[in-house]
């Protein structure tokens, strides 16, 4: 891919970790404005409430409140271009899904509910 269109090719794209496990979606893109130079992509974000905030500020606040139940440190989760390993149908980044902040909800459900039910392991 020679030309990358941020909204068409990056926003809302599936992100995978280095073992190709799903990590989340690109929920937001942060730009850095510079004097005398074109803006530059500062970071990409995997963060549920950021996506909900795109529906409206109130929606975002509501989602953030809900997410605070399971979120630990490291939020909002952001990564830069330097971490991107491959960009095709999905974006592969240099991270480990299991031990990263976007998996807080997964871990929370696992510890509280799924793991406690018989056969859940």
């Amino acid at each position: 891919m020679s030309d990358i269109d941020l909204v068409r090719d990056i926003l809302d794209t599936q992100v995978l970790d280095r073992a190709k496990r799903p990590l989340g979606k690109v929920d937001g893109i942060g730009l850095e404005l510079r004097d005398g130079a074109p803006p530059r992509v500062a970071y990409l974000e995997i963060e549920g409430p950021t996506a909900w905030a795109r529906l409206g500020a109130r929606c975002g606040r509501w989602a953030a409140k809900l997410a605070s139940r399971w979120q630990r440190e490291g939020h909002p989760y952001r990564f830069g271009w330097s971490q991107v390993l491959d960009l095709d149908v999905d974006i592969e980044i240099d991270a480990d899904a299991e031990h990263s902040p976007p998996f807080d909800f997964e871990r929370w459900l696992r510890e509280r509910f799924v793991g406690r039910l018989p056969g859940g392991r």
């Binding site: 599936q14 992100v15 149908v89 799924v114 793991g115």
Partner: protein
């Protein structure tokens, strides 16, 4: 050889998944009330679903995306999420109808009221998804689903009239009960073109790593599998028309529908109907629970997959757990399962454009489909059927509600 196995499995699966509570309930009512007259609705719905299922397979083969995944990416989260939520809500109603169908089958068999069965049936469904690998479950229910072929046999035993059948493939309007006729027509179309069917199919194509060599196989699976399913739905109409209508039996409840196989098979007919209803609904309920959990996971980028242990995909398995629990609650309230089913199917026809129209945009986007974009003809077929059905449903649902008061 592997491909051939895949094709036959795909066909068996689509038969198993195609005939569900919606098709049985709507077709039984249609045949009993209007004879062959509504066969055109099954015909039209089947034509549309063949196109949609073929497209969904082709889409995943060429683009590497599942449909839900691509819809979010193409249209953005804000535009995607509301139609998505509406579709999931309707899926929930359909799942409740499927669970209701199983419960009614158990009621017919035991005499114990269907509400009582809601929680145990939902529990069994959930447990199967929770502990078994899905391959086994799906193939098992798909094979058992072949019991529904008994409707086809019954249609021939009762002496289907091919000339009248062919004539009924062209739409017509009856002289009386027009509102109910219209309502049944859209319910039949909604039951035939269930959105979960093609969403599920596209997930399967991704999971089984279909590459471009599957493009022809995909076309065959969609065409043969879906036509076969349509044929069985038509057989249900024919059997109801030949067995129930002359006796003046109107199908308001499943008790009346359960009699439709008796003239063809005698006492065994009752048990065949009960088995068909239970198995078809159970297979569809499994598919639907998974299809919804898949969609939610694909919408938010969670790990998903049929053969992951619940602990490896806690969000995915929580999604189907909640979905099944809510559906069980709806059934346990004691709403008439037949009415719930017909309403769910009619609503499906209303919201169909919310899934089908954005999907058509994807199918015509060369960025995703390259040289495999849709032909103009297949666009027109889907647009025509989907929009017309939605319009008809918007007229028919209020009329039916007014009439039933």
């Amino acid at each position: 050889m592997k491909k051939l196995l895949g094709i036959s499995l795909g066909i068996v699966t689509s038969i198993g998944g195609f005939l569900d509570v919606g098709s049985i309930a709507t077709s039984a009512q249609a045949g009993a009330a209007f004879g062959y007259a509504l066969l055109w609705a099954v015909f039209r719905g089947t034509l549309c679903v063949i196109f949609l299922v073929e497209m969904s397979g082709r889409f995943s083969i060429v683009s590497g995306h599942t449909i839900t995944d691509a819809m979010r990416k193409r249209f953005g989260f804000a535009a995607f999420i509301i139609p998505f939520a509406a579709t999931q809500l309707v899926n929930l109603l359909v799942l409740a109808s499927e669970i209701g169908g199983i419960c009614v089958a158990l009621q017919l068999l035991t005499g114990i009221g269907f509400q009582v069965w809601a929680i145990p049936v939902a529990g069994a469904l959930w447990l199967l998804l929770w502990v078994a690998t899905f391959d086994v479950v799906e193939e098992g229910t798909a094979l058992l689903g072949l019991v529904t072929l008994c409707f086809l046999v019954a249609a021939f035993v009762l002496g289907v009239q091919p000339k009248e059948l062919a004539a009924a493939l062209v739409p017509s309007l009856p002289t009386q009960e027009r509102a109910h006729y219209l309502y049944l027509a859209v319910s039949i179309i909604g039951a035939t073109i269930a959105p979960y069917l093609f969403l599920f199919y596209s997930s399967g194509a991704i999971e089984d790593h279909w590459d471009k060599s599957y493009i022809t196989a995909n076309r065959w699976i969609a065409t043969i599998g879906m036509s076969f399913g349509g044929l069985i739905s038509m057989a249900v109409i024919v059997v109801a028309a030949l067995a129930l209508k002359p006796a003046g039996i109107r199908v308001e409840d499943y008790e009346q529908a359960a009699l439709m196989l008796v003239p063809a098979f005698g006492g065994w007919g009752f048990y065949l109907f009960v088995a068909s209803l239970a198995i078809a609904c159970f297979g569809a309920a499994l598919e639907l629970s998974l299809a919804s959990a898949y969609s939610v996971s694909q919408a938010f980028g969670w790990n998903w997959g049929e053969n992951l242990r619940p602990r490896q995909a806690a969000r995915f398995s929580s999604a189907y757990t909640i979905f099944i629990a809510l559906a069980a609650l709806i059934v346990a309230t004691g709403l008439n399962p037949m009415k719930l089913t017909l309403f769910s199917m009619a609503i499906t026809a209303v919201i169909l454009p919310l899934t089908a129209m954005p999907f058509l945009v994807l199918m015509n986007d060369p960025h995703y489909m390259r040289e495999h974009v849709n032909s103009r003809f297949s666009n027109y077929v889907v647009i025509f059927i989907v929009l017309l059905s939605a319009l008809m449903a918007l007229v028919a649902i209020p009329l039916e509600i007014v009439a039933s008061k």
